[in-house]
């Protein structure tokens, strides 16, 4: 799978005339799990909405070689999969039916679902750890289960780019590790994977690169190895200090 790079310059966007993103410039590279970090209200979700083509923007935003504003909605469905931050399920489709809708961008008006589609759907539910929920209505899932069903839908979509807004915010520790490992694997397959994360230690443990946002601007963008106390302190306006585990892993915490 060949991912697609996002390149953006002078990117501004907002809601009802109020700017949230201000003059952003940078690159999101394929083949990497990029963690989107930063304080609340920093513009992470808005940035992801702009990347997913759901939010009008000013400036330049390219997906691969193409201007994002010229890519049709249908093609965006084939190129970009999105797990939103908050999902309120509407119609009570079963998990299987909902995940199967991930194949929709690849199907025409009269196309029937193929065997290959079905295989992709089953592989997606297995990878997302929702196999045991296949026949459950999506309206009767917990928050964590809903997040994983959304992830499964994106996997069934099989796009080269995946954008995830806090995909582990409702997961237990074991499933948090599984989901983030899966995202790392998907990036290793060559896809462009961007995940907004609040836990900087998860970003350090799983991501390849980070893009830090503050006040609607890109404050830092670098390989994850460069995320240190100094960067975190400046980003969150609070002193951070490192703790070493018995295994020698370093974790960052706000100094009380």
């Amino acid at each position: 799978m060949n991912g697609l790079a996002y390149t953006f310059s002078g990117l501004s966007a907002g809601y009802n005339g109020t700017p949230v993103l201000r003059d952003l410039s940078g690159v999101v590279r394929p083949g990497l799990l990029t963690a989107l970090i930063g304080p609340n209200g920093g513009g992470k979700s808005t940035f992801l909405r702009a990347l997913s083509g759901l939010l009008p923007f000013r400036g330049t935003l390219r997906l691969g070689e193409r201007d994002l504003s010229r890519v049709s909605r249908r093609e965006m469905g084939r190129l970009v999969g999105v797990v939103p931050q908050q999902v309120r399920m509407g119609a009570p489709f079963t998990v299987h039916e909902a995940v199967a809708l991930g194949r929709l961008p690849h199907q025409g008006l009269t196309t029937r679902r193929s065997e290959e589609d079905e295989e992709r759907v089953l592989r997606a539910v297995a990878r997302s750890d929702v196999e045991h929920l296949l026949l459950r209505p999506v309206t009767r899932l917990s928050g964590g289960e809903t997040q994983r069903v959304m992830l499964a839908t994106v996997l069934a979509q099989d796009p080269p780019v995946m954008l995830l807004d806090e995909p582990v915010s409702a997961q237990d520790p074991l499933r948090t590790a599984r989901v983030l490992s899966l995202l790392r694997d998907l990036a290793a397959e060559g896809r462009t994977v961007v995940a907004a994360l609040h836990d900087v230690n998860l970003a350090v443990a799983f991501a390849d690169a980070f893009l830090a946002m503050k006040d609607g601007r890109v404050a830092f963008a670098a390989p994850i190895s460069e995320l240190d106390g100094e960067v975190l302190g400046e980003l969150y306006d609070a002193p951070f200090e490192a703790y070493l585990s018995e295994r020698g892993d370093r974790t960052w915490h706000v100094r009380a």
Binding site: R73, M89, G90, F93, L104, P105, V125
Partner: protein, 338 residues
């Protein structure tokens, strides 16, 4: 694979249920057709009724009073009731899917109120203007609702709120027209109550033509409607141009509603009861739902029309509202409880 087996079993269960439902629906339809064509003020033997319906009936027999009753009164009335019921029910399914709201109906969005206002305005001048004016009224109401919703920030909830506001305004307009209608008041009131009595073959044909124009595109777009009905922006994220889909389907639904309201007055709540019960039986997938909704709505309305006729030609709209109103309340309370 355990998951695959469970899915296959579930799909078989749904197919079996759908097949049983289809058979039951077709049986009810056959019974309704039989009863509505053979029963009436004038007793005509069933065998004779079906002879008279033959397309090869000679010219002399076509002019007999009983042939006129069967071919020009009972058949158009039955076809009008079936087509209108099916169309309104399909309109309900489409709106509920688009707005992710089981309470959505042509009435919730102000489309029916627009058609009623336009039609009443037309009726003030001439009964020939009812149809065209109802259509214009429905379209103007739809544009007004869309504009108000868009100016208020867009979104499905705002669309319904805008529909309620525009409905209230147009209902006041209809009341105003009634107040100044003078001798035309009784015609407006009777028309607004909704009735298939006196349905012409042309009107029945128009409703069926509109039904085809609504059901076929809606069925083709059924999978996209599935994606949209999953929730806010889900359709867009799955490659559906939601704005275009919404624009197209809302226009089709407006056309359908205007065609029925213009010809037969307001027949409310048909698009609410049947889709909800069908979803419980066969699930929320729109392609089968649209077809079953057409069949169910057609049967329900034809039965209601038969009942209305047998109670001294009561307006059918009154009867459907008397059934649908309490059902709407039940649905609202159930939704609140959830």
């Amino acid at each position: 694979m355990k998951g695959t087996a469970a899915i296959r079993e579930h799909e078989r269960l749904i197919h079996r249920r759908a097949l049983r439902l289809a058979l039951a629906g077709l049986c009810v339809l056959a019974l309704v057709v039989f009863l509505r064509l053979t029963r009436g003020d004038w007793t005509i033997a069933p065998g004779r009724v079906f002879e008279l319906l033959s397309p090869f009936l000679n010219e002399v027999e076509r002019r007999t009073p009983e042939a006129i009753v069967v071919r020009s009164v009972r058949l158009p009335r039955l076809l009008a009731a079936l087509g209108t019921g099916g169309l309104l029910c399909v309109a309900g399914v489409v709106l509920q899917g688009l707005l992710v709201n089981p309470l959505a109906e042509p009435y919730t969005l102000g489309i029916a109120a627009g058609a009623a206002f336009g039609g009443a305005l037309g009726l003030m001048a001439s009964s020939l203007l009812v149809g065209p004016c109802a259509f214009i009224g429905a379209l103007v109401a739809l544009v007004a609702v869309q504009t108000v919703a868009w100016r208020a920030g867009g979104g499905r909830e705002r669309l319904i709120l805008a529909g309620i506001i525009v409905s209230a305004f147009l209902s006041a307009g209809v009341t105003f027209l009634k107040a100044i209608a003078g001798e035309r008041l009784s015609a407006i009131v009777l028309w607004l109550m909704g009735s298939f009595a006196g349905a012409s073959p042309g009107a029945a044909l128009a409703v069926w033509a509109t039904s085809v124009c609504t059901v076929v595109p809606a069925w083709l777009l059924g999978r996209r409607l599935d994606a949209v009905s999953l929730g806010e922006e889900r359709g867009a994220l799955l490659g559906v141009d939601e704005r275009r889909l919404r624009g197209l389907l809302l226009c089709l639904v407006s056309l359908g509603t205007a065609a029925t309201v213009g010809s037969f007055g307001i027949i409310g709540f048909v698009g609410l009861v049947v889709p909800h019960l069908l979803r419980l039986a066969i699930g929320p997938s729109h392609r089968p739902l649209l077809l079953f909704a057409f069949l169910g709505g057609a049967c329900l309305t034809a039965i209601a029309d038969g009942a209305a006729q047998s109670i001294g030609e009561l307006p059918v709209g009154v009867l459907t509202s008397m059934i649908g109103g309490p059902f709407f309340c039940w649905l609202l309370l159930r939704r609140g409880a959830e």
